[in-house]
């Protein structure tokens, strides 16, 4: 990564009169704009930067050189499933037949795209052990919101809408779970984890009553452990008329090896940008399809694709009980397309190799790294493993944060840190199946070297990183005096004292 002086901002590179595009001159009869747009108020100035094409390309090339990525190295971010993004997926998405297809194109003129949607509805439902799937949600949290709306619609339809006002989430859950529940109008209650890192059944029992609309579980959970009491949990929650929601963020551990639908879940979302290899894009776009059991099908949103008797694909008209729609379109098509290409590469014969090698790699790291760094719950893990730097923090004053920052100097992206919240000094490592044994070994050696430094020269860790484009940032000032755009004269005045 480039450690030269910072790259100027677009606006600082701008020079009056430059342009980076050659557009056609008008080939229709001339008329004054003021006549064509009779009722318009025109703006005086359009304060956009002015650059030539080489300026634009060099600027963004320089920026790209100040950024870590999967294609440049190991990215063991727990819970994020940073696996390799196959290039054939990108080629597919560049085809004009998809990229330049308007969503309102009559279905008869978009049968290729319709088939992708139709097949993916079926494939995802099958992988999840579910009966139907909506591709509409744009991301995981969006899928959660839709899933909860379906749960709510189900209860309302069964006359329990007013009573069932509570969603349970484990204390180790992703923050999106309680946030989505709140956005859906539910109150939330947290279920404790027991000493083995799973849902505490006794605590769950104490929370269960007729007000419980459902429970949101990630399985395997955010500690990388399978909720091995899932059958009992399902029985208990179903026993009070609640439904089970599966946060599919960790599906990479299960693909082809276990299905949420088979363990009692009623509704789940997938993160295509995790499990099915579509690029994270620096924070999106994603895609969060929601798959459901039969009982929830009537409430699914618009945009479902059906196949007619003569083999044509059409959009189904949503039924009277449909929740409506959670997005303007029928899903993140270009993301769904990439995931489709990925799934077809593996096919039914090989798809379970994803989970098999993901779990193998995680356990290999657990064993090798576990010799030097404590494992929070030391037993067989699924696709990720949670370590804790509690011992190092106590002995040398070195925090998980410092270890993470030092890893950058060794050329790695750090793991997720301080999550799940219930593990002190957590380092959450998810290697994914696409990393080789040599990569994992080299990472372990880097971690060993850092842990030696922690003991002998801890100041190296607290000063880290030193080789990166910038060093540790003043994040507190950034939040106290927010400067969110270039002009910098913006402030809410709240903290100027």
């Amino acid at each position: 990564m480039s450690k030269q002086l910072g790259e100027p901002l677009l606006f600082e590179l701008s020079r009056p009169g430059r342009k980076a595009v050659e557009l056609p001159v008008s080939d229709v009869p001339d008329a004054p704009l003021a006549d064509l747009l009779a009722a318009a108020d025109f703006r005086d100035d359009l304060p956009l930067p002015e650059l030539a094409e080489p300026d634009v390309i060099r600027h963004y090339t320089h920026l790209s050189q100040r950024n870590y990525s999967i294609d440049s190295g190991f990215y063991p971010l727990g819970s994020c499933t940073m696996k390799y993004n196959p290039k054939i997926n990108e080629e597919a998405a560049r085809l004009p037949g998809f990229a330049r297809l308007h969503p309102a194109t009559p279905p008869r003129l978009a049968q290729g795209a319709m088939r992708v949607l139709y097949d993916m509805q079926h494939i995802l439902a099958e992988i999840g052990g579910m009966d139907a799937c909506s591709l509409q949600p744009a991301a995981g949290a969006h899928g959660e919101l839709l899933g909860l709306m379906l749960i709510k619609a189900y209860h309302e339809d069964h006359g329990n809408g007013a009573i069932k006002d509570t969603i349970l989430t484990p204390d180790a859950a992703h923050g999106t779970n309680p946030a989505s529940a709140a956005r859906c109008g539910y109150r939330t209650a947290a279920v404790k984890s027991h000493s083995r890192g799973r849902v505490d059944i006794d605590h769950l029992r104490s929370l269960l009553n007729e007000r419980v609309a459902g429970i949101m579980l990630t399985n395997p959970n955010t500690l990388g452990l399978f909720e091995d009491n899932i059958d009992q949990i399902a029985e208990l929650v179903h026993g009070v008329g609640g439904l089970l929601y599966c946060d599919g963020a960790n599906m990479n551990a299960l693909v082809g090896r276990a299905r949420p639908g088979d363990m009692g879940f009623d509704v789940m979302h997938f993160n295509l940008h995790k499990t099915f290899s579509t690029p994270h894009g620096g924070g999106g776009p994603g895609s969060g399809p929601v798959a459901v059991k039969k009982a929830l099908i009537p409430y699914l949103p618009s945009g479902l694709v059906a196949k007619t008797a003569d083999g044509a694909y059409t959009f189904e008209k949503p039924g009277p009980l449909s929740i409506g729609s959670v997005a303007a379109g029928f899903g993140s098509f270009m993301v769904i397309l990439r995931a489709y290409v990925y799934i077809l590469t593996y096919g039914r014969e090989k798809i379970s190799r994803i989970a098999e090698n993901a779990v193998l790699n995680a356990n290999y790291l657990r064993m090798r790294l576990g010799k030097d760094l404590d494992v929070a719950y030391n037993e067989l893990c699924m696709h990720e493993c949670i370590f804790t730097a509690k011992r190092q923090q106590k002995a040398y004053g070195v925090k998980a944060y410092d270890i993470a920052k030092r890893l950058m100097d060794y050329g790695y992206h750090p793991p997720t840190i301080y999550f799940p919240l219930i593990v002190h000094e957590a380092l959450m490592i998810e290697p994914t199946e696409t990393e080789s044994r040599e990569t994992l070994d080299a990472f372990v050696e880097a971690m060993q070297a850092i842990l030696t430094e922690a003991r002998e020269t801890p100041e190296l860790l607290s000063a880290a990183p030193v080789t990166t484009p910038v060093r540790r940032l003043d994040e507190a000032t950034a939040a106290r005096h927010p400067c969110l755009r270039w002009s910098c004269d913006v402030s809410d005045g709240a903290n100027d004292a």
Partner: protein, 442 residues
Amino acid sequence: MAYIANTDADQKAMLAEIGLASIDDLFSQIPEQDRFSGQLDIPASLDQIALQKYIARLAGLNADSEKFPTFLGAGVYDHYVPPTVGAVLGRSEFYTSYTPYQPEISQGVLQSIYEFQTLIGELFAMDVANASMYDGATGLAEAAIMAADLTGRKRVLVFETVSPAYQAVLRTYLRHSAIEIVVVPNRDGAGDLGALEELLGDGDAAVLVQHPNFFGNLEAVRDIVRLAHAAGALVIESPDPISLALLDPPGAYGVDIVAAEGQSLGCPMGFGGPLLGLFACKSEFMRRLPGRVVGETKDIEGKRAFVMTLRTREQDIRREKATSNICTNVALYALASAVYLATMGKTGLREVAELSTRKAHYAADRISKIPGFSLTYPNATFFKEFAIETPALVDEINKALWSEGIVGGYALGEKRMLVAVTEQRTSEEIDRFVDVMRRTDW
């Protein structure tokens, strides 16, 4: 496997290190009855050559705008995407990176988002913009919820002239936030201001307006802001970002929150997804913004640097008390729009807007002169899209257009069509479109 490096020998050695005998043993923590041991009912594996051919064949079944001129719009537009966008988005340093939670090695994405926020702020003339939302529709719903929180009021007014797809999302979202929606009727192709004035009361959190609206027409936005503010309601506007190369920006006349669809700014139509939600507001509301925001700061050596900030609004920290549940956004499309705006610049974006305006008005002028056809809203001012009354079923006209290799307009009703014209349509294509309509045997 192409994407899995582990060989049989690797697996064996790794299993030995773990102390297990087989791959199956790795899954022993899953209760027997919860394991899946059969074969999934999904398609068989394809080799890369067969896969490429299959996908190309599917792509070939679609009437895309590279092969066929299209007059579809209704929220997603066939604007020109300059080659710089593909060149930058194709850099895997951008597209294979995660959310920039580790700023020291994510300055590329962070600076690009900061620049994006600035560009959107400038385009809208708004104080602050966030790092993006899923799309314009969900952004509008989030804005309505934000306005309800800010004002403590539980009702919003939305113009009937707002995209029906956006209204549908709004209804779905707001039902769960116990916010009431009242629709202000369409009058001659724009919002009925008399009705708005009558409806507005001290229980209204916001007025939602699309400008240009779903029918392509301009709204009397200054009057709307005046009326809404007089009643203590906020104004949420969904503008077409391309139109803002010409039109007065929302910040210039007091709009409080802007929630727009940004697909037109260099993003592929992609059969409608992903899209790009643009979201901006006045600075006094910044701590109630949904989603991610990037701010400027310094590192310990005093170098300028960028970081995600105001994080205590977000779900991973605030959980059920977060301002929104959004996590993943559409950072890569935000980058596309920033590259687009940097490429178009001050003059290019204006040219795009002017060309679209001129060509749309040329098309409308020609169509309105065909016997049997007329403009639905002859007294409205439209930008690049307009509604027409047709003598035959829209479906029938579109089939006739398709037989000439043209993808027709969007059906607003059986005999009403919405026609969008961008800078990509040539006068020759528009003339062909008009010539099909001029057939006398409808």
